[in-house]
Amino acid sequence: MATSSTASGRGHTQGIIADSGKMVLDISLCMHCGACVGTCPTNSIFMHETLNTFDDNCTQCGLCARVCAVGAIDFPRGHRLSRQR
């Protein structure tokens, strides 16, 4: 998993991004509430104490991004539904 900081210099407000290649998680926004984990139809998200991870079964259905109350989950850069620039 690639982890990069885009907190400064990119003109965008994201914090620490964890990119699984399938979905990306803004770690500074994530509340670790488990809403995405329980909603995931393929059980592709695992909730660790400080970092949720996505595995290869992810189908990019986007339900996790919709259920997340704080908008911490996004499609990866380059995906047509990504909000990252």
Partner: protein, 396 residues
């Protein structure tokens, strides 16, 4: 390491299961992945009294924030239907300090003889010939295999245990409600504030509702739950909740004390909650009331049934699937009909327009109800607004 029962998750379902299993003589271990039981709180914190006594949970000032006299249900145009608490449904009565409540229930489990670990995560099941025989645990960096006659999945909405065991707990998006809540303080109270749990229906909260549950004279949990199939964009919950708060004059000077996110299931009862060597309970078994989104009462009541079943197993030495089926049958006898009926009713409520809510709540406010039940509400609507009843015809 060897136990009769390993319970995964130390919420109300886990603690009640552990308490009754240990009380019945089982050797019980309850594990919690967080560093602190009950925290962070993910809950609106409104409960009723009705289940507490049956689950041997004495009222205790330490976890009671305040008692309310009832519920207020408010329609989009401001019609208010007040329900006295003696007639209310599942979600009014006591507003709790959930972190203290959960610790109290865990204490009861410990006093009954259960062992409890925190910061201990279940990472997989141990199996032998199709039967679950234990659980793999990571506890403070140490990897342990814990053998058990029965593993209990009380691991909440995000439950992994059931999925690992092959039990179908996957939800359709219309049966998921995403939630966001702020605890707001410095609320300018109106006449009724802090005496009622308030519920706001309509297009301000599509397929769900906004709640205001008072914590003290100027503080409340203000939250929103929206059906996932109505959420199209990222962080939409926040937009809806912020928009609602901006319209309530009491909240003008309110400030944040905390923020809670999460999701609840609002589905029909699932097909199975036990398999050889494993049982699910509480939110993990999708036992949340689909109308109110409340999970604590059902978790406690089902936890008691499961704990008693496991206690009995420890006496007889019979840990078979047949024995576990007593739990499956027991919780269904208590909860299944109500869960199914409320799931049907929820699906109907999701089709109502703001005008429908105004008419229905207006009518209920006018007529008043001596007894609150879905049936009685429908009767009133049938008398006053026969056309509206068409939407509910198969519920009557």
């Amino acid at each position: 390491m060897d136990y009769d029962v390993v319970v995964i998750g130390a919420g109300p379902a886990g603690s009640l299961t552990s308490k009754y299993a240990a009380r019945g003589g089982a050797r019980v271990l309850m594990i919690e992945k967080r560093q602190e039981i009950g925290s962070p709180v993910r809950c609106g914190e409104g409960i009723t009294h009705h289940f507490l006594e049956g689950c041997d949970i004495p009222l205790d000032r330490r976890w009671m924030a305040l008692q309310v006299s009832g519920a207020k249900i408010v329609s989009p145009d401001g019609h208010v239907f007040k329900i006295d608490e003696r007639h209310a449904g599942n979600e009014v009565g006591v507003v709790v300090e959930r972190d203290i409540f959960d610790k109290t229930l865990a204490k009861h489990a410990a006093q009954a003889g259960a062992d409890i670990w925190v910061k201990a995560t279940a990472t997989g099941l141990l199996r032998d010939d199709g039967k679950v025989t234990g659980v793999r645990v990571e506890r403070l960096g140490e990897k342990l295999d814990v053998n058990a006659k029965v593993v209990v999945g009380a691991d909440g909405y995000e439950s992994q245990v059931g999925r690992w065991a092959g039990i179908k707990t996957i939800l359709k998006s219309e049966d998921v409600t995403g939630c966001l809540q702020y605890r707001l303080t410095n609320i300018q109270p109106d006449e009724d504030f802090s005496h009622y749990c308030e519920f706001y229906l309509g297009s301000g909260a599509p397929g769900g509702y906004v709640w205001v549950f008072p914590k003290d004279e100027c503080t409340a949990n203000v939250g929103i739950g929206l059906s996932l199939d109505r959420l199209k964009d990222r962080a939409e919950l926040k937009k809806y909740l912020d928009r609602w708060i901006a319209k309530d004059p009491r909240m003008r000077k309110a400030q944040y004390l905390d923020m809670v996110t999460g999701a609840v299931s609002t589905c029909a009862p699932i097909d199975e909650t036990v398999r050889p060597g494993i049982a699910l309970v509480g939110d993990a078994a999708r036992m949340i009331d689909p109308i109110t989104g409340g999970g604590i009462a059902n978790a406690c009541r089902a936890g008691k049934v499961l704990g008693e079943t496991l206690g009995e197993a420890s006496q007889s030495g019979d840990w078979s699937l047949d024995q576990l089926m007593k739990y499956e049958k027991g919780w269904r006898a208590l909860l299944e009909e109500g869960l199914y009926r409320n799931w049907m009713a929820k699906n109907k409520l999701m089709t109502l327009t703001d005008e429908d809510f105004d008419q229905i709540i207006g009518t209920l406010a006018e007529v008043g109800l001596e007894k609150l039940s879905v049936h009685r509400i429908l009767q009133v609507i049938k008398e006053k607004h026969p056309k509206l009843v068409d939407k509910f015809v198969d519920l009557i």
